[in-house]
Amino acid sequence: MEQLLVPMICRIDKMIQETPDVRTYRLKFKEEGLMEKFRWMPGQFVEFSLLGSGECTFCISSSSTRKGYFDCSIKKAGLVTADIHRLLDEGDYVGIRGPFGNWFPLDEIKGKNLLFVGGGIGLAPLRALIQYCIDNRNDYKDFTILYGARTSADLCYKDEIKEWQENPLLKVILTIDKPEEAWPTNVGVVPKILEEVVKPVIENTKVITCGPPIMIKYTIQSLKKLGFADPDIITTLEMRMQCGLGKCGRCNIGSTYVCKDGPVFTNEQLRGLPDEF
Amino acid sequence: MEAVANKQLVSIEKPEIAAPPDWEPVIIGILCNWCSYAGSDLTGTSRIQYPPNIRIIRVPCSSRVDPWFLIKSLQTTADGVLVSGCHPGDCHYISGNYYARRRFLVTKKLLNFVGFHEDRIQFSWVSAAEGPKFAQVVAKVTGDIKKLGPLHLYKKENFEK
């Protein structure tokens, strides 16, 4: 197993400061030819290691349809992520293991209306799917992105959101929690905007949501209130992991291993699990 | 009652592996900012020679030195450690070195108890005006450690010699 835990070395191609505490690292494998072999699906995650500090789990925040690189968006939160922010810059090397876990049910969402509900750094896993869906736009019907953050400065991927807003095929709704000067659109927490502004069509719609645990909780409540069925609500769980291989036992929720059976679950599946996430 | 702890512990340390001929000890010197660090500065500006084996770390006060610093030093590169601060009564923070003194004694005795020669860890009071004394202290510590040879006990794997 020790070999499975040895990471491959990646070079940081580009570093984008998204918000004061979120950075996106664009990674490429150091070894020639590995990048082409590295295949992943939106929703999967990698073990990102800063050698000497430790290993952390991050989802891949770019789609496999954008070739030649992959992104990891990292928020400064704990010991390792603080070290990542402090020490890593363009041209540095990091270790990557993966990709692990399951992915968004791409076949099931084909031909449906899609509603993405993201909060804060929770847009990162959604971004992979959004990019994937934009690149296969014809497979999907209506396309709505609701994205909220605490302040306007905390909105991630600002440039990309601008692109999305300019795209006539997408509907992008932004919101911030507290009023700010020069903020043109909605103010209020995500579930409130979801109910009052977005007013989504329930028929033939799949909702994909991700964000802080508390946001997910209330978003799911609102969605239920709006009339969405459990199998139509898809979310991705955040759970402490160390190996990603279904061995270390950290991501156990009941008899489920989040690193193998997740991190993408429908609300129906989540309701079957003990309340420990 | 017999003073067990204060009795000189029998301490003959046999070098486990003979030191290579060109071996030079690595000594970590932890110096207080206000006295000993200034003292070592004076040693330099007065052009007094002292052995180059010491690697100096500056701390605000000798009471900043957690016993953990000494343990970590011995675990990694160091063959010996020297901690130096202000003379009793001269502490910039009034009483820091009195607290430190207690800790030093216990740390030294405990490390000695578990198998380190007592000369591996040494302490000194060097004031900002005592440039020559600092040179003497370093010379003595270096001499002592040279006699003892390289330290292998509990070295981390990356540092096994």
Partner: protein, 283 residues
């Protein structure tokens, strides 16, 4: 030594007078003659309480437990336990007015084999020093004596001692049960405990065991009350008391006969100083 009835009486009284929310005492395991600490919240369960010479575990450990936090607690303490309680009080870890302390005039507890524990034979303070109510007849303070193991080990050569301790560090499995069972270890982030600290050496190597045990024992120097919770918890049966007793001995001899937690309001040895402290070991 059997104070079962007295303790049950007191606990019942405390519950009826509504003085406490939780009573921390001992109960039988239900399958052998060993005892489990019991956190009793229901007055009906008072009849489970016992106190005999098998009541070994230092209950002040439970004061850092979430079951007792911000509650009025009734607590049974032996001599050594009361010393740790004393220190916890001076270090502001518990509030005295939230505690109702039942002090025991302890006659010594026995280990699994039925022999009197070594620390009880060398006990300095058999009677509780902090209490609201005393059970048993106090014996008064005893003279301090050198730990027999320390005495033996200190007379050995450095090389022999080194070999002995190398074996100890070799056999440590780094479970950190010693730290968790210690009543004086209440830091939320411990420097030898896993992951919460950048200083941490997590691997199970001799070097990291040396680092962990030495740092731990030095952080407890002048505060260890010799209750031997750590030794009871150690799955490898390591003689951890050697490190603590040695420190205690050094401190007793050099720092005005300091013994941790014996006097009320007395801080740990490293939180005070004296002009008479030895200075001759410093150049």
């Amino acid at each position: 030594m059997d104070y079962t009835n007295q303790i049950r009486e007191i606990a019942t009284r405390l519950f009826t007078e509504d003085k406490i929310d939780v009573f921390v005492g001992y109960r039988m395991t239900g399958f052998d003659d060993n005892q489990v600490p019991a956190l009793i919240r229901d007055p009906k369960e008072v009849s489970q309480l016992v106190f005999t010479d098998k009541s070994v575990f230092n209950l002040t450990n439970y004061l850092k437990n979430e079951h007792t936090r911000n509650k009025r607690v009734g607590l049974v303490v032996k001599g050594c336990d009361s010393r740790s309680l004393n220190l916890l009080l001076t270090e502001s870890q518990v509030k005295r007015d939230k505690l109702y302390v039942i002090g025991i005039a302890c006659e010594g507890v026995i280990d699994e084999a039925g022999n009197k524990m070594q620390n009880c034979m060398e006990c300095v303070v058999p009677d509780a020093v902090v209490y609201d109510e005393m059970v048993g007849t106090p014996k008064g303070k005893q003279g301090y004596q050198v730990n027999a193991d320390i005495h033996e080990l200190a007379s050995k050569e450095l090389v022999e001692r080194r070999a002995y301790f190398e074996e100890i560090f070799e056999n440590c499995i780094r479970c950190n049960a010693c730290r968790h069972s210690c009543p004086m270890c209440y830091c939320a982030k411990c420097c030898i405990d896993q992951e919460t600290s950048t200083l941490y050496n997590g691997a199970n190597t001799k070097s990291s065991a040396f680092h962990a045990l030495m740092t731990w024992s030095l952080h407890l120097a002048g505060r260890c009350v010799d209750c031997r919770n750590c030794e009871k918890a150690c799955p490898s049966h390591l003689p951890l008391h050697l490190l603590h007793k040695w420190n205690e001995r050094v401190i007793f001899e050099n720092f005005q006969e300091h013994l941790a937690g014996v006097q009320e309001g007395d801080r740990g040895a490293f939180y005070k100083y004296s002009m008479q402290d030895p200075n001759d070991f410093i150049m």
